[in-house]
């Protein structure tokens, strides 16, 4: 009896174990020779887990859909601790256009080891990826393994335009919310937008992080709020929030600065330093935002947390900041999350009143210095892990002298400084439409990394429109 004919008995724990080890072996295979002890240990664990399942199930089908991985029809649920594994495997499958891997009873350790090396070491072709991989797969002969191409419906040709469109529509939608006076908020639509952003983030977080480099599109506050929303959902997802929680977090983040609508523009955009009176006015925006939402809440069901975030997003973890609490001794989790992403997006954005714009790398270091005082240390650490040492959109100089833009993080914390980089200038500084290079690529002769980041630079200083490199993909 095959899995097609009976319900799978694979438990969530068992499925997760197999998938996580598959990912570990795939990664190690890129760097180690087959006789490496660490690799062998991991292979042994993977094989024994698979063997146990195979003896019971006859076959193991690992199926990758757009943003989920199933094992014998059991959708594997990833949490904070295993998030990186899902991301790595989804990438690995999609890059190779592999839709599913099927392992049959009779699989030997030798065959599994050969296959994992086949996958790990295989240079990914630029065109007809699956066809080329499949032809080599057949030649290598794996009698108890089958690979299948990603079905056409699952294959994502290019959704970048749709994602970018939705990103900008978010800004417009928010503008509409900000502009309506007494009309009730259509939160259903806002929620649908947040849901769409979540789906896109689950599929291609890097591209959306890239889009957060779009700054000052339309009004700053609107653009900033959309960026804060995206980063907050992504961070909430890393932390393991449930979907309903993520929905509330997304709406909270999107509307966190609603109070700024009531602040005179000449104060908001004042190029010089604010005087005490102006500062006091600015500092009323959390109250104003919360009150505006409270007014709306009377007409529509606005979750309490949305009001809370609007009120609390400038209160620090040590309760300094504003407004000042008289009784409460802590701030809400959502407010802590929004505070971090709000600060990060704000200080990496050029504003008339902000003479110094921090690079994304500098922003992160500055924030880590304030950990425990302004920011929750645990959430900040998770944020730093998500954003990476060189956040997406960073302008970097490589040891080869090339310059590039970070376009994708490495999901592994140990390889956080080895992202994927789009090359934009040669060592002489000549601009070019270069390749996207993976900084974990090894030189086959020396077994050393081909490229390494030397430093990051301020893209604004060299008038490099970082966001355009992302928007270009959506064009």
């Amino acid at each position: 009896m095959t899995t097609q004919e009976r319900a799978s008995q694979i438990s969530q724990k068992e499925a997760l174990k197999i998938v996580v080890h598959l990912q570990v072996v795939l990664k190690l295979g890129k760097f180690y020779e087959p006789n490496n002890r660490i690799l062998q240990e991991q292979m042994e664990t993977l094989y024994s887990s698979m063997q146990t399942a195979l003896e019971r199930e006859d076959e193991i089908q690992i199926y990758v859909s757009q943003n989920s991985i199933s094992l014998n029809r059991v959708r594997v649920r990833f949490d904070f601790a295993t998030y990186h594994a899902s991301k790595f495997l989804l990438n690995a499958f999609q890059e190779r256009e592999i839709g599913s891997l099927i392992f049959y009873l009779g699989l030997t350790k030798e065959e599994l080891t050969r296959f994992m090396f086949f996958l790990a070491e295989k240079e990914i072709p630029k065109e007809d990826q699956f066809e080329q991989i499949f032809s080599d797969f057949e030649a290598a002969s794996f009698p108890h393994i089958l690979i299948e191409k990603i079905p056409p419906a699952e294959k994502v040709e290019t959704l970048d335009k749709a994602i970018a469109t939705m990103y900008f529509l978010g800004i417009y939608h928010l503008k509409e919310i900000f502009e309506q006076e007494d009309e009730a908020l259509n939160l259903n639509l806002t929620k649908r937008w947040v849901q769409s952003m979540f789906n896109h983030l689950a599929f291609d977080e890097s591209f959306l992080f890239g889009l957060t480099n779009v700054k000052n599109f339309d009004e700053y506050t609107l653009n900033h709020s959309v960026n804060v929303c995206l980063l907050a959902i992504a961070l909430g997802r890393r932390l393991g929030l449930s979907r309903p929680e993520l929905m509330e977090l997304g709406v909270s983040a999107l509307l966190h600065d609603l109070g700024k609508l009531e602040i005179p523009k000449d104060i908001l955009d004042k190029p010089a330093k604010l005087d005490a009176g102006e500062r006091a006015i600015i500092e009323t925006h959390p109250n104003l935002g919360a009150e505006k939402l409270i007014e709306q809440a009377s007409k529509r069901g606005i979750p309490d947390r949305v009001i809370q975030v609007a009120f609390e997003h400038h209160i620090n973890i040590d309760l300094s900041g504003y407004p000042k609490y008289v009784r409460r001794t802590s701030i809400n989790l959502f407010s802590k999350i929004v505070k971090i992403v709000d600060y990060f997006d704000a200080i990496t954005t050029k504003r008339v009143y902000r003479p110094k714009v921090f690079t994304r790398e500098e922003a992160l270091s500055l924030m880590l210095e304030k950990s425990g005082e302004e920011f929750d240390p645990l959430i900040l650490r998770t944020f730093a892990g998500m954003i990476g040492v060189y956040p997406i959109g960073s302008l970097v100089v490589l040891n080869t002298g090339d310059m590039g833009i970070v376009v994708e993080n490495n999901p592994l914390a140990s390889f956080a400084h080895k992202p994927k980089v789009k090359l934009i200038a040669d060592p002489q500084g000549n601009k070019m439409d270069g390749d996207i290079v993976d900084l974990t690529d090894l030189d086959p002769d020396t077994r050393r990394f081909k490229r390494t980041i030397i430093t990051s630079l301020d893209a604004d200083k060299y008038n490099i429109p970082v966001s355009d490199y992302f928007l270009l993909r959506a064009q």
Binding site: A153, L189, A413
Partner: protein, 590 residues
């Protein structure tokens, strides 16, 4: 078109029409689906119709899925389709199931094999909940997305949301990036940046020697410490009551808002929320919100009297306008989750809620509710004895007895006249309770009332009970009145029990007057009712022995010398017990 709404991919219709048998089964499934939803809207979850439809749907759907792997439902405005064929139609937009899905942009809905019953029921519940809301306040796609059911998928094209979001857009969304320009020109690094690069490059080259050597950390892919800390943090945050958290926040917001108009608006929102909690019977939050607003009024009164006044107005309004009957009904219907907070709330509403406490005490089947109601009445009643007394009714013995017990417990002199009111009651149990309560008072008035019971009540049990509880020693007049009662002609005709009770009352009084009366009683004789008189005299002997003062002993000695044989012998034995044996020394000082 976005095929990534979770696994909500476009589900391609298979070529050709479905075979008639399969189509028939699908039609039946859709009908069952519609019936199951209708039934859940009409009847409670445990109703037989609901259960039957759900069972039948589950059985037939799982059988279908076992054979066909999945059930793809095409969604049109007024119809469900299967492989291109209309399989269910409902054109009444107000209750149409297809329209419920269609209006939120859903094009396809799929159920997958291995769908279990819990998941199907949860799915039906989402549909039911959504269908009960007004159309502009629900979104089935959003609700299903939040649930993330593992064995159902749906497909919504991104264009649906795009068109909704773009309805009011005036600006074009097209963004043009000049790709060619991005490859033109040169980036001239500043000398400062070049120097930094040079220094870092040198340092990096040395570091990289080590970097490629070991990738062991790749296996250690997660920080277990952080992971468990995050889990604890989430679990802590999830345990915090959102409502309580929000109440805390609103307090801060009101405190910091010094502009009166926004302050009033925020306050009216608190009132709205308060009314919602009140309606739902969430008295934990009702009580807390009142407490917080009272605190706020107090704090603001120091430096923001205008705002403090608003809060006081708010408190007065909510207290004045509270629908008491509805509260009682709510309590009777079992809608109150936290009775402790409920009674705290009633306390804040004041004495007008005493009747609710009384009703709950009378009705309450739950001992905890009764106990809480009793405490409430006792606490509130101490300042409103008259109101409390008014709640007593002869036909409501439970509450009346509770009120008597409260009066007794309070030991407030002011309660005595209210207890006296119960003299007119016919209910014997209530009267007995009143007598017991009055007996506990050390106030003469209470005992004078008892004397009235002894004198006037037609019921021997009541008279006896009053005699058992009265303390004649409190007042000479009381003693004299009691003696007078005992000397009355009808005394001997009373039952032994009543006579004993009266004599015991005199005993407790222990006075010379009592002894004098007993002396008279000992001497009493007569031709009529001989046995009764003798009975009274023997009672007198027992009382004198109990009193045991020198005067009592003297009276006994007199009785031992003069009285009839039976009385004489009783007196002697009493004296013997008093003066010899182990009872020696029992004589009390006068």
């Amino acid at each position: 078109m976005d095929p990534r709404n979770n696994p909500q991919k476009p589900l391609e219709a298979k070529g050709g029409s479905p075979d008639p048998e399969t189509l028939k089964r699908v039609k039946e499934l859709f009908l069952l689906f519609a019936h199951a939803i209708s039934a859940t809207k009409l009847f409670p979850a445990h109703h037989a119709s609901v259960i039957n439809f759900q069972e039948e749907l589950y059985d037939k759907l799982t059988k279908f899925l076992e054979e066909h792997e999945e059930l793809n439902i095409g969604i049109q405005e007024n119809a469900f389709t299967y492989e291109g064929e209309i399989a269910y139609r409902d054109e009444n937009i107000l209750k149409s199931l297809p329209y419920l899905f269609f209006k939120d942009g859903m094009h396809k809905l799929t159920f997958l094999r291995d769908l279990d019953k819990a998941e199907l029921l949860a799915f039906l519940d989402v549909v039911r909940t959504v269908s009960l809301l007004p159309p502009d306040q629900h979104d089935i796609v959003e609700s299903l997305w939040e649930k993330d059911f593992p064995h159902s998928r749906y497909y919504v094209p991104d264009e649906f949301l795009e068109s909704r979001l773009a309805i009011h857009q005036k600006k074009a969304l097209d963004f043009k990036i000049d790709k060619a320009q991005m490859s033109q020109g040169k980036i001239e690094l500043t000398a400062e940046d070049r120097e930094v690069i040079h220094q870092k490059l040198t340092a990096r080259l040395q570091k990289e020697q080590k970097e490629a050597a070991d990738f062991a950390s790749l296996t250690d892919s997660l920080d277990k410490g952080d992971s468990s800390l995050i889990e604890s943090m989430l679990s802590y945050e999830r345990d915090i009551s959102t409502a309580l958290d929000f109440l805390g926040l609103i307090f801060e917001l009101l405190y910091t808002e010094d502009r009166l108009e926004p302050f009033k608006k925020a306050l009216s929102f608190v009132e709205k929320r308060y009314q919602e909690w009140l309606k739902k019977g969430d008295f934990t939050y009702v009580a807390i919100s009142i407490r917080q607003m009272e605190d706020l009024a107090q704090i603001l009164s120091l430096n923001a009297p205008e705002r403090a006044l608003e809060v006081e107005k708010f408190l007065k309004t909510i207290i004045d306008q509270c629908p008491l009957e509805a509260l009682l009904e709510m309590a009777r219907q079992g809608q109150i989750k936290d009775f402790k907070s409920f009674f705290e709330f009633l306390r804040r509403l004041g004495s007008k809620t005493l009747s609710i406490g009384a009703e709950l005490l009378e009705d309450g089947l739950d001992p905890e509710v009764r106990s809480a109601a009793f405490e409430f009445l006792e606490e509130m009643g101490k300042d409103h004895l008259d109101l409390l007394a008014n709640l007593a009714q002869e036909q409501k013995p439970f509450i009346t007895k509770a009120i008597i017990a409260i009066f007794s417990h309070l030991q407030d002199q002011k309660a005595i006249p209210f207890l006296a009111k119960f003299l007119s009651y016919k209910n014997k149990d209530i009267k007995i309770e009143v007598i017991e309560a009055l007996g506990r008072f050390s106030d003469t008035v209470a005992h004078k009332i008892l004397l009235e019971f002894m004198r006037e009540d037609k019921d021997e049990d009541i008279r006896t009970a009053a005699a058992e509880k009265i303390h004649l020693s409190l007042d000479k007049d009381l003693m004299n009145a009691a003696v007078h009662l005992a000397l009355a002609k009808n005394f001997h005709a009373k039952s032994l029990r009543e006579k004993e009770a009266l004599l015991k009352a005199l005993e407790r009084g222990g006075s010379d007057e009592a002894c004098d009366f007993l002396r008279v009683l000992l001497k009493k004789s007569g031709f009529l009712k001989k046995a009764k008189i003798e009975e009274s005299r023997l009672c007198a002997v027992r009382s004198l022995e109990t009193i045991a003062t020198p005067k009592a002993v003297e009276v006994l000695r007199g009785g031992a010398g003069r009285a009839k044989k039976k009385i004489k012998s009783a007196c002697r034995e009493a004296l013997e017990r008093l003066t010899t044996g182990k009872d020696a020394g029992k004589e009390r000082p006068s």
